[in-house]
């Protein structure tokens, strides 16, 4: 059974509804044993990274996610769920899960007409081939809401980029059995649902 990780970081029910729409029956759980043993894990999230990491630790979900990650089964991170996969975030100067090398930084524009958070629909340029991306084209737009962005250390983990203001940042991360998007695929209309459907069928080993 696919599991959506519940760590009080927002929109688990929106994600569950979108899963159901693409024919993936997923359960919401905060139980580390359930997460560690799941077939697939969806790791969503909105809000503050610092308090989210604290909640993960309090519930033992950080260890559960590591155990799950090492199993090689597919893991999908969404928004804050992408940021926490990296080693560190500037938000509250917080160490994160470290499954992907790199860190998150805050948008900081000299030109105040570029507002923070980055809210709205923006394009993704896909930079590498990946089985999750076969139904999408560079230039497709997705819905973003975030003030921090990921800087993965290794270019091969960066599957897609988005430009906001004078910054081009990594909006899709892929590494072995991890796939993560900075945008909310559950709120990105039909193209977002296609990505969720691809996750339903993704076998990272193949």
């Amino acid at each position: 059974m696919p599991i959506i990780v519940d760590y009080d970081a927002g929109n688990v029910r929106s994600v569950q509804r979108a899963c159901e729409y693409v024919g993936m029956k997923a359960e919401i759980s905060a139980d580390p044993d359930v997460v560690a043993r799941a077939d697939r894990v969806i790791f969503p999230g909105v809000g503050s990274a610092a308090s989210a990491v604290d909640t993960l630790q309090d519930r033992g979900l950080d260890e559960a996610l590591h155990t799950f990650h090492q199993s090689g089964r597919p893991l999908l991170g969404i928004c804050l769920g992408l940021q926490i996969l990296l080693q560190h975030t500037e938000e509250g100067d917080k160490p994160c899960l470290g499954m992907v090398e790199g860190a998150c930084e805050r948008f900081d524009f000299a030109d105040r007409s570029f507002k923070v958070p980055h809210i709205g629909w923006n394009e993704v340029a896909f930079t590498r081939e990946h089985p999750m991306l076969s139904q999408l084209k560079s230039g497709d737009e997705f819905y973003f809401v975030h003030s921090y962005y990921a800087k993965p250390r290794h270019e091969e983990n960066n599957l897609g980029t988005t430009t906001y203001g004078d910054r081009t940042f990594c909006s899709v991360i892929g590494k072995e059995n991890l796939f993560a998007t900075q945008f909310h695929l559950e709120k990105s209309g039909k193209l977002g649902l296609k990505l969720l459907e691809a996750f339903k069928n993704w076998s990272p080993s193949c």
């Binding site: 105040r112 737009e141 193209l191």
Partner: protein
């Protein structure tokens, strides 16, 4: 590059879609769930539902509408109208709304904005402001005043001051609704929208007065709005969402065309 958003506003009364002209004389124009689905299929970027139900015991009808919409529409949508407490906001979020809009209750008790921002996140807390033009004076340096109760009650608060206060309290976005322009279909209040958009560092959604595609172009360029709210012009079938977006694209405005 970030696209400008087209947001459809659906006024809902007793579970039915209504459209007001200057906030009085509302009339039913259909089922909000099927309208939401129609606009979603046609490439709408976001939805706002405004619950104008008069009696509080009919609020559960709105929660049902929200649940049905959330099962069919996978773009962001917010709900406003009658939100007085964090509990009201949470109920709507649990039913499936992405964001909540606070308005009159926040003017009467500004801490509501901070409470919602803390409980559900800044990015999910939208401050909706109803604004009327007044004589520029010491009390109203911007020349605009905040009003509540659907435009009937002036509050003696300067509109620009309130926008900045709302941002400081944690609102993640602002809806700037001109009561003078609302329902007229004669164009958005450009000066008001630009003044607020230039002063705050959160996104501004222009509202009230859209009647022609040119009005959207004007408010998204000259008015510096991040998003434009439309209602009558699409509800009555004069324009389609996809048609409006294609036209804006042809005029050089960045909008989302592939969906």
């Amino acid at each position: 590059m970030l696209s400008k958003r087209i947001i459809a506003c659906l006024d809902v009364r007793d579970g039915k879609l209504a459209k007001s002209v200057k906030f009085v004389d509302t009339k039913d124009i259909g089922d909000p769930v099927s309208k939401a689905r129609e606009y979603y299929e046609d490439g709408l970027d976001e939805l706002v539902f405004y619950d104008i139900t008069a009696s509080s015991d009919a609020r559960n009808i709105m929660l049902d509408v929200v649940k049905q919409v959330a099962n069919e529409v996978y773009i962001p949508f917010s709900v406003g109208g009658g939100i007085r407490t964090v509990d009201d906001a949470n109920k709507l979020l649990w039913a499936g709304a992405e964001k909540i809009n606070v308005n009159s209750a926040a003017v009467l008790r500004p801490e509501l904005i901070a409470e919602c921002a803390h409980a559900i996140g800044d990015q999910n807390t939208v401050l909706s402001m109803d604004i009327k033009q007044v004589e520029m004076s010491r009390d109203f340096p911007s020349g605009y005043e905040v009003v509540i109760n659907g435009g009937r009650k002036p509050m003696g608060i300067d509109a620009l001051e309130w926008a900045l206060r709302g941002e400081e309290l944690g609102a993640g976005e602002l809806v700037v609704n001109s009561i003078d322009a609302d329902g007229t279909r004669e164009g958005y209040e450009i000066n008001l929208t630009r003044m607020i958009a230039e002063a705050v560092s959160i996104p501004v959604i222009a509202s009230g007065g859209a009647g022609k595609p040119e009005h959207l172009l004007e408010v998204l360029t000259e008015g510096k709005a991040d998003a434009a709210l439309v209602a009558s012009m699409v509800h009555f079938g004069d324009y389609t969402v996809s048609g409006l977006k294609q036209w804006l694209h042809d005029q050089g405005v960045k909008v989302r065309l592939r969906y």
